[in-house]
């Protein structure tokens, strides 16, 4: 798996489990803890209902991080979901940070011209 260097990549296994981390992240709004949403390896249409629910929940959190390091398959619908989440999240004053983006996901996003709007971090050497 082409995991990017990421100190939280072990969280990739805990998909669907939105648990609180014992520490605040630098990107967080400061006063409280950030949620980490780990995207599933098969991040496609069939899985989106679950991810959407998770994301909706995350919108209520003070800060949220998304971990896409585990993503092995992705489709347009999935990226569309992320775009919609990001738009609303930004509108609410959150600034969701990336905890890792797999190559598959990065490629798909750039093909669709969505890398910018998703604010994907610049590629890191693996």
């Amino acid at each position: 798996m082409p995991a990017t260097a990421d100190k939280h990549s072990e969280d990739a296994t805990g998909r669907g489990e939105s648990r609180s981390m014992g520490k605040a992240t630098a990107q967080g709004k400061g006063e409280s803890e950030a949620r980490v949403i780990a995207l599933p390896p098969d991040f496609r249409l069939a899985e989106l209902a679950a991810v959407k629910a998770e994301l909706l929940e995350a919108l209520e959190a003070p800060a949220v991080n998304i971990d896409g390091a585990a993503v092995e398959r992705v489709d347009t619908a999935a990226l569309q979901l992320l775009v919609a989440f990001r738009r609303e999240s930004t509108a609410r004053g959150q600034s969701p940070a990336w905890h890792g983006v797999s190559t598959v996901m990065r490629d798909a996003a750039s093909l669709l011209g969505l890398a910018q709007v998703l604010e994907l971090p610049a590629p890191m050497p693996a």
């Binding site: 209902a49 959407k52 619908a77 979901l81 738009r87 798909a108 669709l112 011209g113 709007v117």
Partner: protein, 661 residues
């Protein structure tokens, strides 16, 4: 990339494309002979690569021109159109036209000319024939562009049907340089309002590269009903009709910038100045050089220690050095050796064209196409062969009715055969036509005062007459006329390569012209002859025999000396006279008579003696000094002194002129 940066790749592109054109031509000819469908694919691929390359390397006119041919081929390939003689003819002319374009590209001239324009229209018209009327013009105008804008708006239900825009766009990206700009105007404002299985995004995609509309449309074939799609050509490149005007100043500007490089390339001439070498050959060379280095370092250990006990080792080292040097020499020579197929390949087309024009049926047989010979020889053998082939079809082979009358099949056979014979390469052009008309040649020769009568002349001697300069021109009324036009040029060209031309001909059965050439011009086998204090190299190929004569065997006649050799009287050329050497042996019985053959005749070269046989690496006298009559080059002997290489044919001609004077 900058113009200058592209220029270095342009040359490679042009060379590759010329090869592609050769492939197209030979495949078209094979197709004409009833070849299989795979050939169409081969032709199509060749055209396609040229088109793509031309667009990349800054020849938009060429690209759009080739595109017309490609579209036509595409229809043939997809079975929409049956290939027939007229299409093959048209495509063959397209190949010629493209060759012209490449020549102009190399010369830095504007690519388009009247022929190209006319042909483009013909190709377009040919395309139009097969397509239902209407829409043809519109389609063609936009069929091809270098940049496209695709507006792609999937319907919301598209994702649910399993069609993923990501896959479609990825496929598009395979066609050219792609940039997708997403549109979010249909995306719900809230995440809650988004149904993940519905597509609310849209894209405006720009695609750069020489892509056909059809290729883009094909990507969206399956989702036609599930999206709004608009494909528009971006006219960043001038339309074909405007191309000549638009590009002329650019070409001119490029000319100024690249003047130096372009001139250098032009000076290199039409003969291409590079050779493709297989990796195997290069690896072999590297291997040999490695061996040579090892031997050298081994010999190095003897430096300063000339111990008698080590002489055996030293000898062994020297023997190794000699072996490796010889192998290295052979391998390096091998790099310059190319199959004669590249020359042969131009003939199917030529034979087809000439025979059609003359209304003759000709079957061309090629034998020994893989025979390898030196690149320089290869480049120069082409013209003489073209001459011989043209003559053979024009004058040798008869028209079908004449052939029937003579009891032969309608189909005449022309055979080109190449083979190695010893250190020579033998190329034979033979036909089963009428053969040389002895009576007509004799009559003509008598009329021109070349001979008194044909009596007593062997067939070979008669055939040889056609090599006389200007022999047999249009003034002759027989069907044989022209058979001699340029034959003297053929012989001269071949002689310049150190080769000979001979004729075998049987009246009514056909004739064969045999060209014998040395494998390479760079190294010759020669005998070292001493004349006075000088040494000369006599090429081994021209030596027949050497004899020691008694003084009375040589007779003085008007204009020179003759001696009898195997029933023939041969003129004597005293090398010391010809080259003005002092202190040479003048008495016939003390020197040696070397019988040599050059320019179709035999002479005796009188020298002091023969020293030995050796391989001589030919150094051009022309390049280092100037052309000298009777000398074909120079070489450096083992002791470092220079020896001149005797040009037998030149010497014979020189002698002939002296005699006449």
């Amino acid at each position: 990339m900058s113009k200058a940066g592209l220029a270095q790749f342009q040359q490679v592109f042009i060379e590759e494309s010329l090869e592609g054109l050769d492939t197209m031509e030979s495949s078209l000819l094979a197709l004409d002979d009833g070849g299989d469908g795979e050939l169409v694919h081969t032709i199509f691929r060749a055209a396609h690569s040229i088109k793509g390359g031309a667009a990349t390397f800054g020849f938009p006119e060429m690209s759009s021109f080739t595109h017309e041919a490609e579209s036509l081929l595409d229809e043939v390939r997809s079975g929409k159109r049956a290939i027939d003689g007229s299409i093959i003819e048209l495509l063959l002319r397209t190949v010629d036209c493209l060759r012209g374009m490449f020549a102009r590209a190399q010369a830095g001239e504007p690519l388009n000319d009247a022929v190209a324009e006319g042909l483009r229209n013909e190709l377009a018209a040919a395309m139009g024939r097969g397509i239902p009327a209407g829409g043809v013009q519109a389609r063609r105008a936009e069929d091809q562009a270098d940049a496209w804008t695709v507006r792609f708006r999937p319907h919301p239900g598209m994702l649910a049907s399993g069609n993923d825009p990501l896959r479609l766009i990825r496929e598009l990206a395979g066609l050219g340089e792609l940039r997708a700009t997403p549109e979010f105007d249909r995306l719900p404002a809230t995440l809650a309002g988004l149904e993940p299985s519905e597509c609310h995004l849209g894209w405006t995609i720009t695609l750069r590269g020489p892509v056909k509309r059809a290729d883009i449309a094909a990507v969206f074939d399956w989702v036609e009903d599930e999206c709004d799609l608009a494909i528009e050509a971006q006219h960043v490149v001038a339309k074909p009709a405007e191309a000549p005007i638009a590009t002329a100043p650019v070409a001119a500007a490029a000319n100024v910038a690249d003047a130096g490089a372009a001139r250098a390339q032009r000076e290199a001439g039409a003969e291409s100045s590079s050779v493709r070498v297989s990796i195997d050959k290069i690896d072999g060379l590297i291997n040999l050089v490695g061996e040579l280095v090892i031997t050298q370092s081994m010999l190095d250990t003897f430096r300063g220690e000339y111990d008698a006990t080590r002489v055996a080792m030293l000898e062994q080292g020297l023997a190794q050095l000699a072996r490796h040097t010889r192998e290295l020499q052979e391998t390096v020579m091998g790099i310059r050796m190319l199959p004669i197929a590249s020359v042969f390949n131009r003939f199917p087309r030529m034979v087809r064209d000439i025979s059609q024009k003359l209304g003759k049926q000709v079957k061309l047989e090629l034998v020994g196409e893989q025979t390898e010979l030196d690149k320089t020889v290869l480049e120069k053998i082409g013209d003489p062969m073209v001459h011989l082939v043209r003559n053979a079809i024009d004058h040798g082979l008869e028209t079908p009715d004449k052939r029937r009358a003579a009891g032969k099949s309608d189909l005449g056979t022309l055979k080109l055969e190449a083979s190695h014979r010893g250190g020579n390469i033998v190329v034979e052009v033979s036909d089963d036509g009428a053969g040389l008309n002895r009576d007509a040649i004799v009559a003509k020769a008598v009329q021109r005062g070349l001979i008194a009568s044909g009596e007593g002349l062997s067939d070979e001697a008669v055939a040889d007459l056609i090599f006389q300069p200007g022999f047999s021109t249009a003034a002759v009324t027989t069907d044989l006329s022209g058979r001699g036009v340029g034959m003297d040029v053929v012989r001269r060209n071949v002689a310049d390569l150190g080769g000979t031309v001979t004729i075998r001909s049987t009246q009514g059965k056909g004739s064969a012209f045999t060209i014998t050439l040395p494998l390479t011009l760079a190294i010759i086998d020669g005998l070292t002859a001493a004349v006075g204090g000088e040494r000369y190299i006599v090429p081994l190929v021209s030596i027949v025999e050497s004899v020691q004569l008694k003084p009375e065997a040589v007779r003085s006649v008007a204009g020179g000396e003759l001696f009898r050799f195997r029933g023939e009287y041969l003129p004597v050329i005293r090398l010391h006279d010809a080259f003005g050497c002092d202190n040479a042996i003048r008495a016939i019985d003390q020197g040696l008579m070397v019988v040599v053959e050059g320019d179709g005749s035999r002479v005796g070269l009188f020298v002091d003696g023969l020293i030995g046989q050796q391989q001589a690496v030919v150094k051009s006298l022309e390049a280092n000094y100037r052309r000298v009559q009777g000398v074909s080059g120079a070489t450096i002997l083992a002791d470092g002194s220079v020896a001149l290489i005797v040009d037998i044919a030149g010497l014979v001609r020189l002698q002939g002129r002296r005699k006449a004077a």
